[in-house]
């Protein structure tokens, strides 16, 4: 039987990564009652996974965790938001249902990796780039494993550095972007000394690993698990034996919660004003869902949203110049790491598009729209709700992947039954006993 916990707060924050932590701490330090709802066991999101307890967190992370622990913010961990409506959030943990009544809401739900289908992409030991790093941070030993890191985005270098630090042998980094675009990006980073220094540190750590540009994985080879990857580098293909493939094609924003609340989305990102407020009054959004821009921007946007939600417009405004500087990364990353059309050609008809329902690219491709493809092939109708295949289909077919009905994550039927104040307080697994 599920426990139901009802929580009241001034401001609820969805997501306990850098943006969420910054927002929550900012509000709490100005006196508001804040609750953070986060689906991992500890706050930190992806980039600061593991929270304050983990050794080797960046110094900035450690500072924020320290402030968080002193701020009085209530962090509800292991909680997945599945429904939101005016003034109420509903989330579930593995054993309970949480109903959170809020005055204002800050959505800091982060981003997820973009996975593009290619031959062999469903083979065990093909992981996301951030995915393998997340698993390694969750206890997976990578020492002496041979790893290929591939895809696109600044994450690749960071992941390769992390893996190397933990004893893996990273055979190569295959970045699909062009060298000229990467150099431009490097030039921008150079104006941000800390970021640039971090990138240099990553490259120094991975100095024994080839970093190839205009390079991507063509196929993952292996019967029951990965044995090698076939990589293309400027048109030449070669096979590289390896234990793990860590691949990801940059990030897609998690806009579902904001969309469910009616917030407008433009070109896939949540629209916000200069105070990070969405098109819905009292609902703010900070970090990756407003534009993929990295951790510094997320921290700034989180603080601005926190100040604005707490009614402190001046403190919010004071951070506008810094935010404007770091906002440059949004456009720069989008342009530098935009996906080249060759990648779409890897998704041949016979390979799977939807991994939950095992629907092939060919079957999905017969349709003109995501809605029609979903209905007729059931791609996107599995538990991931299209987070993997829909995002891929948007790139492959140019479809608009829209529609946010609750639940935005699968939830127990008993939790769905509580999805309104009507059921609040009633016995949920109810009926005559």
């Amino acid at each position: 039987m599920d426990k139901i916990a009802q929580v009241q707060c001034d401001i609820a924050v969805v997501g306990g990564g850098p943006a969420g932590i910054a927002a929550a701490v900012t509000v709490a330090e100005s006196g508001g009652k804040v609750v953070v709802i986060d689906d991992n066991a500890r706050a930190g999101g992806q980039i600061w996974r593991g929270g304050g307890a983990v050794k080797g967190q960046p110094r900035e992370a450690a500072c924020w965790f320290e402030r968080l622990s002193k701020s009085g913010v209530q962090v509800l961990s292991g909680a997945r938001v599945f429904h939101a409506q005016a003034g109420i959030l509903e989330a579930e943990t593995d054993r309970s249902l949480l109903q959170i009544r809020f005055g204002k809401l800050i959505v800091a739900a982060g981003a997820r990796e973009i996975f593009l289908p290619f031959p062999g992409w469903t083979t065990p030991n093909v992981f996301g780039a951030g995915g393998l790093q997340a698993l390694a941070k969750s206890g997976l030993p990578v020492a002496e494993k041979r790893v290929v890191v591939a895809g696109t985005g600044p994450l690749l270098l960071a992941v390769a550095a992390y893996l190397t630090e933990h004893g893996a042998s990273v055979a190569c980094i295959c970045e699909q972007a062009r060298l000229s675009d990467l150099l431009n990006f490097g030039a921008l980073m150079f104006r941000f000394p800390k970021k640039f220094a971090e990138a240099i540190r990553f490259r120094v750590k991975t100095r024994h690993t080839s970093y190839w540009t205009e390079s991507h994985v063509i196929a993952a080879i292996g019967k029951d698990r990965l044995e090698a990857v076939r990589v293309s580098q400027r048109g030449h293909a070669r096979d590289i034996p390896c234990d793990y493939l860590a691949y990801g094609y940059h990030l897609a924003p998690n806009t579902e919660v904001a969309q469910m609340l009616g917030c407008s989305v433009r070109e896939g990102f949540v629209q916000v004003d200069e105070c990070q407020q969405t098109t819905e009054a009292g609902i703010y959004c900070a970090g990756e869902p407003t534009g993929i821009g990295g951790v510094e921007l997320a921290l700034l946007e989180g603080q601005i949203a926190g100040h604005a939600a707490a009614g402190d417009a001046d403190s919010a405004k004071a951070l506008f110049p810094a935010r404007a500087r770091y906002r440059k990364f949004v456009r720069a990353m989008k342009e530098t790491f935009s996906l080249r059309p060759e990648l779409a050609a890897l998704a041949t008809d016979d390979i799977l598009l939807c991994r939950c329902e095992d629907v092939t690219v060919g079957n999905a491709r017969k349709h003109d729209s995501w809605k029609s493809a979903k209905l007729h092939t059931r791609c996107g109708m599995g538990p991931c709700q299209g987070r993997v295949c829909g995002t891929a289909a948007a790139f492959l077919f140019g479809w608009n992947i829209e529609s946010q009905r609750p639940p935005v994550f699968p939830a127990r039927c008993s939790s769905l039954a509580a999805m309104s104040s009507f059921a609040a307080g009633r016995q949920i697994n109810g009926g005559p006993q």
């Binding site: 599920d2 429904h83 409506q85 349709h367 003109d368 729209s369 809605k371 029609s372 209905l375 007729h376 109708m381 599995g382 538990p383 709700q385 009905r405 609750p406 639940p407 699968p410 939830a411 127990r412 039927c413 008993s414 939790s415 769905l416 039954a417 509580a418 999805m419 309104s420 009507f422 059921a423 009633r426 949920i428 697994n429 109810g430 009926g431 005559p432």
Partner: protein, 375 residues
């Protein structure tokens, strides 16, 4: 651009698709138009339950005839249609409902439908996850379930192989007097038009007495063998047949994938298709009363759809008196999947002038019960 055909069908849902195939088989040049894509309306939202109903002679005749047509067709259906002859159990919670079970049993047996009364123990054996003890139930073995969108797609494919043409994705701005006009200016002409537009029927042909009746459904993740038959509470009929107001009734379907489809709800006078948590809540709580174990299952999706409902609970199948070229094939409420094949046969007979396979009078748009409302 002008397109001509013998018959032009508006609506690529299961009814329109079934009519297209049937008329193509009869040798007509058929064209099908739809503002969206096949099964985008009620068909795509529906449960896909093929069920014989006893609430009136006319309803029985139509559902029974159609069910038998489905049985004849079943071996031809591709595996994507997921046809499963799992049967229905009407569940009785108390002695009063068991009396209803007895009545239904007699009714069906007198009309040649194989049924079996299950007592409390037999019901529990058949469906161990139902709360026990129930009073019992009625097993209707000949009922089935399938996945409606792929069934509609199959009918359209078969029709296309016989020369049927389709034009999807454009709003229909005119549909009368042998003509249809699409949003991009395409003009289609045919000697016969069929309005099979379901919840949109009245927009295409003003005056068709069809009102949308909203429903919600929940689908779970895969839990194989948890439910073996379509299970429906006997109170379902009260819900389906209340002429106004919101209602819910326990109705659960096992899909071949192992997922469970949980319903059902009915609402009038709601135009938006947004999921309404209070209705979902009522519907699920009702379901938990019958099957408590549902509470802990993972619910993956919730959606809504609009059944096309008529004032007297029977569909409209036949000529539309105000337009000599126009036939209506809509208003099937919650029985569109079941009765799609029978509807197609009736329409074929009406258009070709052949003898109707079952008496067509109860479903004619010109019938008394409709005329009274229509005015």
């Amino acid at each position: 651009m002008t397109v001509s055909a013998d018959v032009l069908i508006a609506g690529a849902g299961i009814v329109g698709a079934a009519c297209a195939w049937e008329l193509a088989k009869a040798g007509f040049q058929v064209a099908v138009i739809d503002q969206a894509f096949p099964a985008a309306g009620a068909t795509g939202a529906s449960m896909g339950h093929i069920v014989v109903m006893d609430d009136s002679e006319a309803q029985f005749a139509l559902t029974r005839f159609s069910q038998l047509l489905w049985d004849e067709l079943r071996d031809e259906l591709p595996s994507t249609v997921e046809f499963d002859g799992c049967g229905t159990i009407w569940v009785a919670v108390d002695e009063e409902e068991m009396a209803e079970v007895q009545r239904k049993c007699a009714y069906f047996q007198a009309r040649g439908v194989r049924v079996e009364i299950l007592d409390s123990g037999a019901l529990h054996h058949a469906e161990p996850n139902l709360r026990a003890p129930m009073a019992g139930g009625l097993l209707v073995e000949g009922d089935s379930v399938l996945y409606p969108p792929t069934a509609a797609a199959f009918f359209l494919e078969q029709a296309a192989a016989l020369g049927t043409r389709v034009n999807f994705g454009k709003a229909v701005s005119r549909f009368a007097n042998g003509n249809a006009v699409l949003a991009d200016g395409t003009v289609l002409c045919a000697s016969k038009l069929i309005n099979a537009a379901g919840q949109h029927a009245a927009r295409l042909t003003p005056g068709i007495p069809v009102r949308p009746r909203k429903g919600h459904l929940v689908i779970t993740d895969r839990y194989p063998d948890m439910v073996r038959h379509q299970l429906v509470e006997l109170g379902y009929l009260k819900s389906a047949h209340s002429l106004s107001g919101d209602s819910v009734a326990f109705n659960i379907q096992p899909r071949k994938t192992g997922q469970l489809l949980i319903g059902s709800s009915r609402q009038y006078n709601v135009e938006h298709d947004r999921v309404e948590p209070p209705i979902v809540s009522q519907m699920l709580l009702r379901a938990f009363e019958y099957m408590p174990a549902l509470g802990s299952l993972s619910g993956i999706r919730v959606w809504t759809g609009f059944r096309p409902a008529t004032p007297d609970k029977l569909p409209l199948i036949g000529p539309w008196s105000e337009d000599p070229t126009l036939y209506v094939a809509t208003g099937h409420e919650g029985l569109g999947i079941t009765t799609s094949l029978a509807t197609a046969k009736l329409i074929r007979a009406q258009i070709t002038g052949a003898a109707a396979p079952i008496p067509a009078e109860p479903y004619l748009p010109s019938r008394q019960t409709i005329a009274e409302v229509h005015g």
